[in-house]
Amino acid sequence: MSINDSVATSRLEVKLGDHLTLRNPVIPASGCFGFGKEYAQFYELDALGAIMIKATTVEPRFGNPTPRVAETKAGMLNAIGLQNPGLEKVLSEELPWLERYDVPIIANIAGTTEEDYIQVVEQISHAPNVKALELNISCPNVKLGGITFGTDPVIAASLVRKVKQASSLPLYVKLSPNVTDVVQIAQAVEEAGADGLSMINTLLGMRIDLKTRRPILANKSGGLSGPAIKPVAIRMIYEVSQKVNIPIIGMGGIMTAEDVIEFFLAGASAVGVGTANFVDPYVCPTIISELEGWLDKLGVQHISELTGMGWKG
């Protein structure tokens, strides 16, 4: 694989605002890559543009009962329920372990109250390899809070303002697709000071088992991800990117380099790859190695030129 070649060149380097430069735009999405260790068994993590680590909460969480995943056509449902080892362990073990790689970490933050969020933000911002925050205001699985932050523009904006005061790191807000008007939320968090958006999180879905006659997931409903949701992600990014002036990390169903290009055309400046990691643990380096070929095919010098080309002039 020509990972190192592609990493070396700058045609894939992306600048997200003034605040973050990535060697390439491919970022494993939060919750689909743990804290990196498992995928480090497959390839050197330096190949990646950045890593979005699993949502971190103040206290350790066990999450939802199992089963936590189900398969759907061209997609999957998950209701992990934000299981994570808690802030302390993330700071003392997970993040330090990742320091062996030259790769920026984007810390996904979750909580059930504003105070929760602030506490994680304040402390995690001190970790030397955490270069940006991703505010998970959209995880649909936790009943207390979570979803409400992401569906109400006023509440979302308030949280963003407080988080901005608590940290000087660039702040990405992760938007939920389960809303009537995603542009409204995007604009509200931009106005409140967000440095970027990441979108989309999962769509709320369910599957029912014909044998047990009950939902397959113990949590009943879960988040739908994978290729099935890509058209929804593309549409939302296409709409939002025309209405905000902050960069968007696009995600939702990316499986191939072609998909990455489509997200750029829609308006993304970098991309998250989630579910695809389960299908093929090598998917991120594979995509990265294929991107330049696509730039050649499209006659484009630099990948950033593609951002928003689907609607620009």
Partner: protein, 260 residues
Amino acid sequence: MFKKKGLLSIVENREIAEHIFTMKLEGELVNELDQPGQFVHLRVGQGFDHLLRRPISICDVDHEKQQLTIIYRAEGAGTVAFSKQAVGEQVDVLGPLGQGFPIEERKAGEHVVLVGGGVGVPPLYYLSKRLKSKGVIVSHVLGFSHAGAVFLADEFAKLGDTYITTIDGSFGEQGLVTDVLDRWNITEWNALYSCGPLPMLRALSQRFEQHEAAYISLEERMGCGIGACFACVCHTPESDTSYKKICTHGPVFRVGEVIL
């Protein structure tokens, strides 16, 4: 060491009992497989009709021929698709994954009991072969629903004492595997390894809670299969938030190590 993924070719794929298929897969990746109780994670076809991989136990390995045998029940969409794959087609295999049965602890001359139920039986076959080759004396207690569902009976018989039970009594003894343990008073053993349906594992766990070397192999729906997604966790007795991942800490656990 980097983990592996490979394309293996199907050299055999046929029904050996009702809805139960055996598939032989050949290729280089087989060199990596040698721990009984570990599993492989298989893609179903190539498109996105079946997005998630399917975890299937190693049932037998032939390093000389570079062949892996799996035995699976064609039940849901993905395994039914497996059953229709033709010889010559390729399967995308990730593995070996997980922690297998701890056979290093066993010594020649020891007596070990393997207890299996339904599609929990396949991993015990490679386990039994490996134990036997170490000089361990192996007994097998294998439970199936009915005669038509029985498989590998002869093969296990060649490796040691083999008790087959069926729920309806249509083959072997009538009853559950635990009934056999009672009936034949199988109590003198150095280790017990089991794999099968949850109720069976629960019964065994209760019964052998105090035993040092009683092991169970668990199943759970998986996302990544490598420990990254937290899909396959189970509670452990230590605390409310303590857990084990079946895909990496397991699938084999010591009895009592996790809460069933």
